[in-house]
């Protein structure tokens, strides 16, 4: 359904834009119909940038994104609207997603205005009620209220309902539950999983590995804009191959058992390497060598459905 091919995003830095900074570097993966993919990475890994590029909120420096075979980088106006009627996003902060000075329902009004300008009011209202039910909200409880009168969980559902008003095929869920309380976040997550079972594809962006595991079939691990490992969730979680993934896994606080060893990785000053393995300076592997410093290791398939970008697995 959605195919990312070597997408790259660079920012110009310096006075006259002399230097460029890679936010995302040659990231490729695809998402099939009805699939949930977790995009996992720490802050600054470029995970949100990828989501924004799919949503055309950020321009792509190079590479392409195809939606059902069509390159989205050039679409405009009517085509863009058409694209948005299939591809939508939900973001981290539900409160910030609503214009604070208007009632929350306004986000639906906009949809009505922009996508279904000719739909009669009654018909629209029915559609809306249906969508709200679909996300498990009682319209009477949530309509005609200001955002701050709703809880974060309710609002997030609200925003998902907004996307569901359309003929939705693909949803970018960017950290949508990280600001929710523990008691409600799981319900939103369940809702996503529910939608998926109805055929929706989801790009689930998160920094929380346990959430990624809970919901997705496949996971993509990002570090500094580069994919270091990707594959089926089980394989990545149970046999992480890349030292970075391993470190991440080791850092997850489990309720049932304590951390194994003391880590000293504080992610302090990290050397900037533009050519070469992005993880080079933090890499604890004994085997890391000059080659890692010089070349970017490509993703290689170590086992079916499990790819890793580390020089240890090159040959």
């Amino acid at each position: 359904m959605l195919k990312l091919s070597e997408i790259t995003k660079t920012y110009k830095v310096g006075t006259f834009g002399g230097k460029s900074l890679y936010a995302v570097r040659k990231v490729s993966f695809d998402i099939k119909d009805g699939e949930v993919i977790s995009l996992i990475g720490e802050s600054g890994s470029g995970k949100s940038t990828i989501g924004r590029m799919i949503l055309k909120l950020t321009s792509i420096t190079s590479g392409s994104i195809e939606f059902n075979g069509q390159d989205i980088s050039t679409i405009k106006k009517a085509d863009l609207k058409d694209y948005y009627s299939h591809v939508q996003g939900v973001f981290q902060d539900p409160f910030s997603s609503c214009n604070p000075i208007f009632k929350a329902d306004r986000i639906f009004e906009i949809m009505h205005e922009e996508f279904f300008p000719s739909m009669p009011r009654e018909e629209w209202d029915e559609k809306l009620v249906e969508a709200l039910h679909c996300v498990g909200l009682n319209p009477e409880h949530v309509q005609n209220k200001f955002p701050h009168q709703l809880s974060g969980g309710q609002l997030q559902r609200f925003l998902i309902a907004r996307a569901l008003l359309l003929d939705l095929k693909f949803l970018v869920a960017d950290e949508i539950i990280s600001m929710l309380d523990a008691s409600t976040r799981i319900d939103v997550l369940n809702l996503l999983a529910d939608l998926k079972s109805h055929g929706l594809s989801i790009l689930f962006i998160t920094h929380d590995l346990s959430l990624g595991y809970y919901i997705s079939e496949r996971a993509v691990i990002l570090y500094k804009g580069t994919v270091v490992e990707m594959g089926e969730t089980d394989k990545i979680y149970h046999t992480p191959l890349h030292p970075y993934t391993q470190m991440l896994m080791a850092s997850v606080p489990h309720l049932d058992h304590k951390w194994e060893q003391k880590t000293t990785d504080l992610g302090g000053k990290v050397e900037d390497i533009t050519e070469g393995c992005v993880y080079f300076s933090r890499c604890p592997l004994e085997g890391k060598g000059e080659q890692c410093r010089a070349d970017i290791p490509p993703l290689v398939e170590v086992e079916p459905g499990h790819q890793v970008a580390c020089c240890c697995f090159q040959k």
């Binding site: 489990h254 003391k262 990785d265």
Partner: protein, 320 residues
């Protein structure tokens, strides 16, 4: 007993009236104890934490006593608290990233702060350097401005600074929420290290993330809507929680190894009550699956097992 709190009640002054953010909290902390304070946002955990050191503009002290090492903290008296702050009770704030004066070199700021507290900076200097080493900060940071430090470095710098005078009690407020998992782990481990090295006697770690607490805390206290729900040693809370809220909370946490397709977790339906006009009795009543008529009265916070405090009528009943 290093910290002993009785009936601490703190309200917020707002336009529409008083928000009952912390109601009759009574608990104690032993020397060397790291207590995790968990709960949903707005449950009063930050209120509890900060009220022990600094009541901000809109917080009103209502009643209760706070004894630290046998001394009563005059938390209602901003000036009177000054001598306790930093030396007896200290804080790593939520906003550690912006806690340092952006226009002063860090060393100079520390210097000025220390001198202002009538301590000898030069005397403290060697210890400061040792602690910087401990948290793996180069000593050069003292010559830098806060903006020149990364988030994790600022976090660690504030940790060092807050504990520099070896306070009895340290309140660490949501210090991990802005950090990546890998850094989170390191910071939390450092907190424990600080305790182990006796830089601080006891600690209250406030967070909404119970799994973090499970790694480092000796005990966990769960709050709900301004009231204490349960306090027990960490293992007990995680495995044998007694308060229905705690149980639901723990069971809703996704863990690596649990998949939607295999096991569907559930959240707690409903939402917390508004504290402006809180319901009488147990505040969890409306969302509680086991609530009954008794719950219209406020349940006391009782020690059911050793070190296991619960505020739930149903539990009392069962226990009895």
């Amino acid at each position: 007993m290093s910290l002993n709190i009785e009936n601490l009640t703190v309200y917020y002054q707002t336009l529409k009236g008083e928000v009952h953010a912390l109601e009759d909290a009574s608990f104690s902390l032993t020397d060397g104890e790291i207590m995790g304070l968990a709960g949903e946002s707005g449950c009063g955990k930050t209120t509890l934490g900060t009220s022990l050191i600094l009541l901000n503009g809109r917080m009103r002290y209502i009643r209760g006593t706070v004894l630290l090492d046998g001394q009563e903290l005059p938390i209602w008296d901003n000036r009177g608290m000054d001598e306790f702050r930093f030396k007896q009770v200290s804080l790593i704030p939520q906003y550690a990233m912006s806690a340092m004066n952006p226009t002063r070199r860090i060393g100079k700021m520390v210097h000025e702060l220390i001198e202002a507290r009538h301590e000898d900076y030069n005397e403290i200097m060697p210890e400061l350097k040792r602690r910087l080493d401990l948290v793996e900060l180069p000593q050069e940071v003292l010559k830098l401005y806060p903006i020149e430090l990364s988030g994790g470095m600022k976090q660690r710098m504030v940790m060092v600074l807050s504990t520099l005078l070896n306070p009895s009690l340290l309140i660490a407020d949501e210090i991990t929420s802005a950090l990546d998992v890998s850094t989170q782990k390191a910071v939390v481990e450092m907190l424990a290290e600080f305790r182990d090295r006796k830089f601080v006697k006891s600690m209250i770690v406030i967070t909404h993330d119970i799994s973090i607490l499970s790694q480092v805390a000796d005990s966990i206290m769960v709050m709900y809507a301004g009231q204490l729900s349960e306090k027990a040693p960490t293992e007990t809370i995680i495995r044998h929680a007694r308060h229905p809220y705690t149980k639901l909370l723990i069971s809703s946490l996704p863990k690596v190894g649990i998949k939607y397709s295999e096991e569907i977790l559930h959240g707690i339906p409903g939402k917390p009550p508004l504290l402006l006009d809180p319901p009488i009795g147990c505040r969890f009543r409306d969302r509680c699956p086991v609530a009954y008529e008794k719950c219209t009265q406020v349940p006391p916070f009782l020690e059911l097992d050793k070190d296991h405090f619960v505020a739930c009528w149903k539990e009392f009943e069962e226990h009895a």
